[in-house]
Amino acid sequence: MKITLTGIAVLTLLSQVVAQSEYPVSDIPVALKSRADAVVRQETIVADMLAPTKVRYEVKQAITVFNKEGEDKARLVIYYNKQTVIKRISGRVFDAGGFQIGKFTQRDFKDESAVNNFSLYEDTRVKYFLPAVTAYPYTVEYAYELELKQNLIIPAWRPDAYWNVAVQHSEYTFTCGESDDIRVNDTNYAGEPVRSNGDGRKSITWNVANLPARRYEPYSPDPETYKITVKVAPVNFSYYKHEGHYSNWEELGKWSYDALLADGLELPEATTQVVRKLVEGLASDKEKAKVLYEYLQRKTRYVSVQIGIGGFKPMAAKEVDRLGYGDCKGLVNYMQALLKVAGIPSYYCIVEAGSAKRNIQSDFASMEQGNHIILCVPLENDTTWLECTSQRLPFGYLGSFTDDRTVWACTPTGGQLLRTPNYPVAASTQHRQAVLVLAEDGTLTGKMETAFAAGQYENHLEIAGSNGAEQIKLLKKAYDVDYIDFRNIDYQKQSGKIPMLVETFEVTLPKYAPENGGQVFLTANIVNRQPNVPAVKDRKLPVYINRGYTDEDQITYVLPDGLNLVSGGWKEEIESRFGKYQATVEQMGNQLRYHRKFVLNEGTFPAEQYTEFSAFINRINMLDNRKAILAN
């Protein structure tokens, strides 16, 4: 009897030893190792909505790390706050052979506040952990469970979100009561999810397998357009003790207005008086709005404090009035309150801000979209947009941070989708003119004037706003020529439908054109040379030019007596679907004239045209660096 027992014990031990090799690297298909810093071996995520105030969110994932870059993906980072409770975290580490070499628990995690560096305060914290393993590859397996005490925002499933990470298998299941109303949105997911019902519960499961690693490609479209995202939004929700229901932007906008905005628009009597006085006698709503916007710019500044209803509720207008600061929500709300006093309606608009143009998803309403707030003033036939966090932007100008995209307006009658203005390629100009005298020692001296308009208005806005030594430093960065010296620097702003910034200065470029063996070498394009773009092989993604523009440069060089162009003048023209480039150099009497015009078109082009695109740009780079050779 005893002998048998021992036998069983040995067998059990043996089977455990065998079972310990769980994630051998040799099991990864070759195609997934190519260009991968890490591979998600196995990922199972289950969101189980037990009640609107109780969503169990369970994650189990195993990631194999091939190199240092891959460690970013092996690092487990969990953000939590009052509405997100970490129930358990544990994990194990395996070597290349798949044998366990370590394990860890919640105690091994570092806990820190998660306040963005631009914020004064946010009530979010973060726990993070990275195992210490000296040899690549290794595999780390995590298992953790969160409890969400709300169901307004349920984390989306984004299995292929990371660059340079392959996915062997990932699966997401959402479970809720059979009678619960939910809305589902999947983007770029091929196939149909699996649905199952039973015991009064229903589930939907999505899964992907064997996705090779993708790398970032320059001039490529917003990843949202080709990466997989699955979002689930319950119709009836609970959030920070607020209840509501929505199934479209209109309803969510109505709830947001009522719950978050309606009670914060009141202003103290003194400020109301100030506003009335400011707009007194002004004829149009537009003039009134402009005066009030300038008042806002004088009186307030941007300070980010993210508290209250998950960071969605703006600071009340009377608070901003008293403190003189607020975040984007608070400042937009304050501006709205000022306009309201003057009897001008306006909309609080949620936008996905950033240099890349991203739309609010028109076919799927959900609360987590957007990261910034702007104000829309629907003047008759003249809708005006206001960025309320900047003290420098002119009235009615949004700039590249929020231009040309769909935004979500929250109004008393409900939500609606609107579109911010686009600055056309032809209007977004940078026009430069200079007359420079070439001295015998190769030094250039003269005057340069550059006008920046529409989409290019912001190019030198920061320089214009600075002064003294700081301004010189910024100018040297923008005009990075050896020993460059600026004098009589001046900036003029022209507001209007298309705002324009005009920069003028006198400039000296010592020994810019060196002489060697009787020849003088002059690169005619001094300050606007197009940088190269990488010549990516095997391009996978479409070519995307986010923002087009028109640049024109006209430089006249006054040559010393007897010096002539010996390398010959040139006239180059390139036309392409991506834009148009023209450059000429010619001598006229004692002047050498350089003219360059470059129009870059915006838009999306098929992947196979990337080679053509890089050839176009790199050819321009070559021509921009071309030298004129002068001699007696």
């Binding site: 870059e69 010189i472 050896d482 063996g517 092989k537």
Partner: protein
């Protein structure tokens, strides 16, 4: 750098104490109101009008230890919107590891003062806008910002800090990134505490005074006299950070304190920091320092495996170094002490700098080698005080192994470092060698290898302007180290070469190989088959091309109009280019860049170019050498001119002429 030291002694003077020298909260002077931007300098967007601090000690009977109390008060004028950032205040408070002893902030007071229609309007800080952020278990930030800011607003705040951390008393930062009109600090130090006091920075104090203050400290029912030190400075210029400089703390004016002795009531004297021999004894017996160095038994069982086949001392040292490099991963924490102890670090394969390099020292000793510890301060931590031991200045430890007449400095925290090369962060002036038996001594670590790179191109030029050939790049020192780090991010050499191909748009790479990726002691050699378009145009009678297409400087790294601090690059460097091109038939060299030979004074640097045509073979060579790791501020313009000349030279083309009839 100019350093001024104050020697602090007990001066017993019988004075009546002056009343508190703090300025009145919220009460502006005409000068405060009048001060305008550009009155102090041409670039600052805010200025400190007045700053006062007072630090004293109180024995806390309940807790049973002495606490430091700091009262701080400052008034700042904000000239314009770019200065608004100065209104965002962060006050850090620390908690020790046990969680029992912590800093406590109290009496925070803050107001904004605006001049409206010639009258001062004050807006107090709203307590609901005072935030406490628990950054981690050991650190809390108390944060606030000022309401109602306008251009020209004056902001003022004060607080009281009670701290159990008395070792460094209170560092008084005289110089900041904005100018200060006045800064005054009073330190009340009880007679039983003796501090070393150091003034750093180029400016002299305007006020420096020592008085006796009777009975200002009470312990165990006894009153103890204090010395009341006053330090003041007026019109302190803003500190401006520049490129190529080490830690700003090396240059900024500040007063530093370090506790050296405590005289107890019973007459005994505890030496906290005094002489190096005391420090040596302390470190050698410290369980997390000397204690770890001595643990050669940890290596007993693995020693034969590690040293297998190592014939001599150098081979043994290298084997042990390699072993530690590969077996303990750096957890990114610095420190001269072992965090976990070396046995655990070896078992868990993870540790801080102390764990790793003390383990290395123990291992070297286990192998029968003469190994010592070298304490140092990293570049961004500032240089160490070399007049007397200030232990807290040191934040790093490396190993020194003595073999014959040579020694090697070793840091095993980076698996790609070759034997004997310290990482650049460790090259920062003096370092102290701690020996288990002998007295400690100073050395000045230098990088043991020059950073060099050689580009050799052998190619053939075709009449259509295309150039085909082989480019071989050989790197050493930090250049090789950086490349190895970069290579480690690619799973295969092919992927790395593809990356090089894509990012170097000037040429295409059709194939290549890399040697020495894992052999950190060897040079890193990259060999690429390249083709490029050297010039544009077909069978033209004259062709122009620029020979400076490899390792082009292009932009001047030195573009300041004035320079105050030394240029510190950490290491000497040398870059060579050799190009050999076979020209198409029938072309002759019409003109070329004149051969160039440019030198910096005192052999500080050299730039050489040479162009030649032998038959149909065109050769071009270039050398750029910066022979010093550090250049004095006076050399700045020579460096700037040096690079300017290089840039001018790089603009000159080679002109080839097609012989008639060809």
């Amino acid at each position: 750098m100019i350093k001024t030291y104050l020697t602090f002694t007990f001066i017993v003077l019988f004075h009546i104490c002056l009343p508190a020298q703090d300025f009145t909260f919220g009460s502006l002077t005409p000068a405060d109101v009048k001060l305008k931007r550009n009155d102090l300098d041409s670039f600052s967007n805010a200025a400190v009008l007045n700053e006062y601090g007072k630090a004293f000690m109180v024995y806390n009977d309940t807790k049973g230890y002495t606490e430091l109390i700091v009262e701080y008060h400052v008034r700042i004028k904000i000239f314009n919107r770019d200065g608004y950032g100065r209104a965002d205040i962060v006050l850090p408070t620390h908690r020790d590891e046990s969680g029992e002893r912590m800093d406590v902030l109290s009496e925070i007071k803050a107001i904004t003062l605006n001049i409206v229609d010639g009258k001062v309007v004050s807006l107090p800080l709203d307590k609901s806008q005072l935030f406490r952020e628990e950054v981690s278990k050991y650190l809390t930030h108390t944060k606030f910002t000022f309401p109602g800011l306008q251009d020209g607003s004056i902001i003022e705040y004060s607080y009281r800090l009670t701290s159990p951390h008395i070792f460094n008393f209170r560092t008084w930062y005289l110089q900041d990134d904005i100018p200060k009109v006045n800064s005054l600090f009073e330190a009340l130090i009880p007679g039983m505490y003796n501090y070393n006091v150091v003034l750093r920075g180029p400016f002299p104090l305007d006020i420096q005074d020592a008085k006796l203050k009777r009975g200002c400290f009470r312990i165990a029912g006894k009153d103890i006299d204090c010395s009341q030190m006053t330090y003041g400075m007026k019109n302190i210029p803003a500190f401006v950070e520049e490129d190529y400089m080490t830690a700003s703390s090396n240059f900024k004016s500040a007063i530093y304190f370090e506790l050296s002795d405590i005289y107890r009531l019973n007459g005994s004297n505890i030496k906290i920091t005094k002489e190096w021999r005391d420090v040596d004894r302390e470190l050698v017996t410290h369980p997390d320092f000397g204690g770890q160095m001595k643990r050669d038994n940890v290596f007993k069982s693995i020693l034969p495996t590690i040293l297998a086949g190592a014939p001599d001392e150098l081979a043994k040292a290298k084997a042990m170094y390699r072993y530690i490099q590969q077996h303990i991963k750096w957890n990114r924490y610095l420190g001269k002490y072992s965090e976990n102890n070396i046995k655990q670090a070896l078992e868990h394969r993870s540790g801080n700098i102390g764990d790793i390099n003390l383990a290395l020292i123990a291992g070297l000793r286990a192998a029968g080698l003469d190994a010592e510890a070298v304490m140092l301060s990293t570049r961004d931590n500032g240089v160490v005080n070399d007049l007397h031991p200030v232990l807290s200045d040191f934040n790093y430890v490396v190993a020194k192994v003595n073999i014959g007449d040579d020694y090697h400095l070793l840091d095993a925290s980076d698996p790609f470092l070759p034997f004997g090369l310290l990482p650049l962060r460790c090259i920062n002036g003096k370092a102290r060698v701690i020996n288990l038996k002998e007295p400690s001594y100073w050395i000045e670590p230098k990088s043991s290898q020059k950073s060099t790179i050689l580009y050799a191109l052998t190619a053939e030029l075709h009449p259509d302007g295309s150039l085909k050939g082989q480019l071989t790049t050989t790197s050493n020192g930090y250049t090789a180290l950086n490349k190895r780090h970069e290579l480690a991010n690619y799973n295969t050499t092919e992927e790395y070469i593809e990356h090089i191909d894509e990012t170097h748009t000037a040429f295409g790479i059709s194939g290549g190989e890399i040697h020495g990726i894992t052999e950190a002691e060897d040079p890193l050699v990259e060999r690429y088959d390249i083709d490029m378009k050297l010039y544009d145009g077909l069978d033209a009678p004259e062709i122009f091309f620029n020979p400076f297409f490899i390792n082009r400087v292009g932009k001047n790294p030195f573009n300041l109009d004035e320079r105050t601090y030394p240029v510190d690059m950490g290491t000497a460097r040398e870059e060579r280019v050799v190009i050999t091109v076979k020209l198409p038939a029938g072309y002759t060299l019409k003109s070329k860049p004149d051969d160039y030979n440019l030198a910096l004074e005192n052999k500080g640097g050299r730039y050489l170019t040479q162009t030649q045509l032998n038959g149909d073979t065109f050769t071009f060579s270039q050398l750029l050498a910066l022979n010093q790791a550090t250049y004095v501020p006076e050399s700045y313009f020579a460096l700037k001119e040096f690079f300017s000349r290089i840039i001018q030279q790089e603009k000159i083309d080679v002109v080839l002429h097609k012989a008639a009839g060809e």
